[in-house]
């Protein structure tokens, strides 16, 4: 009977539990998590902040999930180190947990840049449930907030704060918001919406100093401008939380390096989720892709392989679905290509806030942006994932009625009728 140990308790961990149990119903599974919660939907913390999600919605799995899957939980305990020779995980309480198979799924940790006044009260991050709870306690109507970073986390925090009645300014260093998932055109359209909801967006700038006595009372930007505020949220980015693997022989680049079976370089150790650096099929390179679906799928692959299966993770690439104030967007892969080998088509309908863009490389779809008109965007995701030659229907790809009807009949039959291609 194998002893499985999982460090972390979010999407990758749940994926791993479900992956292990597809093959092995007897092995013991131990989950170690610093956070004292059952797995919850991390992306929902902005909903929590905004008051549109309750405990029930936050729960990622049903109450009986751990029991049903025979999982022992070690919550509120931090795994501090791993002894890869004796195959033990050392805990913050001094105890050790032995493993036959270990999954590191510690996720990411916020990157807080060094800045003057960065030690004052009223500076928050926005990654965990506790962050949201803390912020919610102070986000009263009429207060002011500065969000450093106009990425996914920063803007989600901003949206949540606005819904709490907070006056929000977002400061972004890049020339556009959401620069990892949107190009200039799309970013401008989204920014317009944010501004329409009274979020003040400042681009090409950053906070150099946080002012106030003990508590935050304002910030000073690089350009010298001062902004009064009651709280600062740092949302510059997230880095793989590789702490537990530090000082071991586990190979780390940006994240823990894994092969296509999610195996680290040390035997019986796997990594998955935001902490892992796995192969990206679009960039064709090892990358950390900190998105929820990736985390689950990597976790599941890792779990199955830990339990003796032989499956590869072949769907790693960035993709996001997110909305701000009811403006939905779905983007995937390479959205702002650099180089001659790419081909781009796009459609803009400013009045409808519709923007659609497709990026091709050698007749394969490698990325897209869909703003407002997100319906059936998954077909495009599928085309990226399956590396389909889109040349027969390239010109239809962004059409409103694009679908399988434009695809070659043989492909359609295979996909829709369950008829295997010969």
């Amino acid at each position: 009977m194998l002893e499985y140990v999982i460090i972390g308790n979010s999407a990758a961990a749940v994926g791993a539990i479900e992956g292990i149990r597809q093959r092995d119903n007897t092995g013991s599974i131990t989950v170690i998590s610093e956070e004292p919660y059952y797995a919850y939907s991390r992306p929902l913390i902005s909903y929590l902040l905004a008051g549109t999600a309750d405990d029930k919605k936050m729960a990622y799995r049903d109450v009986g999930f751990y029991e049903d899957n025979g999982v022992s939980l070690l919550l509120g305990v931090k795994a501090v180190s791993i002894d890869t020779t004796s195959k033990e995980v050392i805990l913050s309480n001094g105890k050790a947990v032995t493993y036959d198979k270990l999954l590191i799924a510690t996720g990411g940790k916020p990157f807080v840049p060094p800045m003057k006044g960065g030690d004052k009260k009223g500076i928050y991050t926005f990654i965990k449930r506790d962050d949201a709870e803390r912020l919610k306690a102070v986000a009263k109507p009429g207060t002011k907030a500065v969000v450093i970073g106009g990425g996914l986390i920063g803007l989600k925090a901003a949206e949540g704060l606005v819904k709490c009645g907070v006056d929000v300014t977002v400061v972004e260093l890049a020339d556009r918001i959401l620069s990892t998932i949107l190009d200039e055109q799309a970013a401008a359209m989204v920014q317009e919406v944010l501004e329409g909801h009274n979020i003040n967006v400042i681009l090409n700038d950053t906070v150099t100093e946080v002012v106030g006595d003990n508590t935050v009372s304002g910030v000073i930007l690089k350009n010298g401008q001062s902004i009064e505020c009651d709280m600062v949220i740092t949302a510059i980015g997230v880095r793989p939380n590789t702490d537990v693997a530090a000082n071991t022989d586990i190979s780390i680049n940006r994240g823990i390096k894994v092969d296509d079976h999610m195996r680290a370089n040390v035997e019986d150790i796997y990594a998955a989720g935001d902490v892992a650096e796995a192969y990206d099929i679009v960039y064709e390179d090892q990358r950390v892709t900190p998105i929820w679906p990736n985390a689950y799928m990597q976790g599941e692959v890792a779990g199955r392989n830990m339990a003796g299966d032989d499956v590869v993770f072949d769907s790693g690439f960035a993709r996001n679905s997110i909305s701000f104030f009811g403006l939905p967007m779905i983007t995937a892969g390479i959205i702002k290509p650099v180089g001659n080998e790419y081909e781009v088509t796009s459609i803009v309908q400013p009045d409808k806030k519709v923007y659609k863009k497709a990026v091709f490389k050698s007749n394969r779809l490698v990325g897209f942006i869909r703003l407002t008109d997100i319906d059936r965007a998954g077909i495009l995701t599928g085309l990226i994932k399956e590396k389909i030659d889109v040349s027969p229907f390239k010109d239809k790809l962004l059409d409103e009625d694009f679908g399988f009807v434009y695809m070659p009949k043989s492909y359609r039959k295979e996909k829709l009728l369950g008829v295997k291609r010969k």
């Binding site: 999407a11 994926g15 939907s41 991390r42 992306p43 929902l44 909903y47 549109t52 999600a53 029930k56 919605k57 729960a59 990622y60 799995r61 049903d62 929820w292 679906p293 689950y296 799928m297 599941e300 993709r319 996001n320 679905s321 997110i322 909305s323 939905p328 779905i330 995937a332 997100i374 319906d375 059936r376 965007a377 998954g378 077909i379 995701t381 599928g382 085309l383 994932k385 399956e386 009625d401 679908g403 399988f404 009807v405 434009y406 359609r412 996909k415 829709l416 009728l417 369950g418």
Partner: protein, 146 residues
Amino acid sequence: MKRVYALEEYCVGCRLCEINCTVAHSESKDIIWAFKVEEPRPLPGILVEEVKPISFGLQCRHCDDAECIKSCITGAMHRDERGAVVCNADKCVGCWTCIMACPYGTIKRNEDKGNVVSKCDLCPDLPQPACVSNCPNEALIYVDRG
């Protein structure tokens, strides 16, 4: 598991599958009430793709390896005891990650129903899905192809 498959050779694009899906998922199960009175009106779980002369109905494939379930950030999307992929509306927050994930494009946004997704549920209360029973040209079949 039994799934609905469309035979494009015989689909005439009449969209009665969409209509009947809506009726089957309405409160009244009555076509007039469902379309004229009931609010909100359920979205059809099936959609018809048509570029003449090709047309076919398409709904959730209830994939064995369902991307939507794996991608769902809240755990709302799940597989029920029948094997059907269904969405728990109480947990769905309308993040549309499943729409991003579904390679068939068969999940819809239901903005009338508080931003939750709407998709084929294989009509759990009927002997076979309403779209299949009501296709006038038998262009939808409900069979087990593994």
